[in-house]
Symmetry: C2
Subunit: 128 residues, 2 copies
């Protein structure tokens, strides 16, 4: 999605780009939900399908692969019949989650501001 941070064309981008990369890593409809589920306890594929209602098989697999590729999830295959695969959160993912709850704290503190800002903005847009 985002270009690499090499050869930033402005100092603003040089500062913003690494942040954008992290955001992108957990952006999208599904990543955080899967992360949350896997942090609670190791989860199986089908279990995730139920925990994250509305996700398609395709998106579940894609999201799992991306999270695994970034070292946020660990995939363990049990060579049984039928196959059993478990996804568990890595220590790295748990730390990241800590920062995300920090963001959540910000959101809760500013929720009134945001709601008011949106209301003001939408009303003013309506008037025009």
């Amino acid at each position: 999605m985002s270009d690499d941070c090499v050869l930033p064309k402005s100092d603003v981008q040089a500062e913003a780009c690494p942040i954008v990369q992290i955001i992108d890593r957990v952006a999208g409809k599904w990543s955080v939900s899967i992360l949350v589920a896997a942090i609670r306890k190791p989860v199986r594929y089908t279990e995730l399908e139920r925990s994250v209602p509305g996700i398609s098989r395709r998106m579940l697999t894609l999201t799992l692969r991306n999270l695994e590729r970034d070292g946020l999830l660990e995939r363990t295959v049990y060579p049984t019949v039928p196959p059993k695969v478990e996804y568990s959160a890595t220590p790295s993912a748990r730390e990241l989650y800590g920062h995300l709850t920090g963001l959540l704290e910000w959101a809760e503190r500013h929720q009134p501001d945001i709601i008011e800002a949106r209301k003001a903005y939408d009303e003013q847009a309506l008037a025009a």
Copy 2:
């Protein structure tokens, strides 16, 4: 992009959804760059076009409107000829930025892990 957090269909989603909403607020290629620029000092429209190389007028305007709607940017119009419009970061945006740099700290600490994880993942995928 994301549905509202009303009537979560699972407890995992109930926990994840508010986080997803915040992430989405600053996700995408451009939001963070614009935020960074506006935090340094109030910036004008054309100035942003230069500070954020590659952005189109359309995306610049759309992103500005979204950030303004969420109360992260304040838009000030000076009724001069030619017109002058300045965008400045709100206190709320500055606090949010603090949390984002927290994420950045995480990224820097785990960058080696991530690079290694990706390398391992890609090599193993290649072997298959």
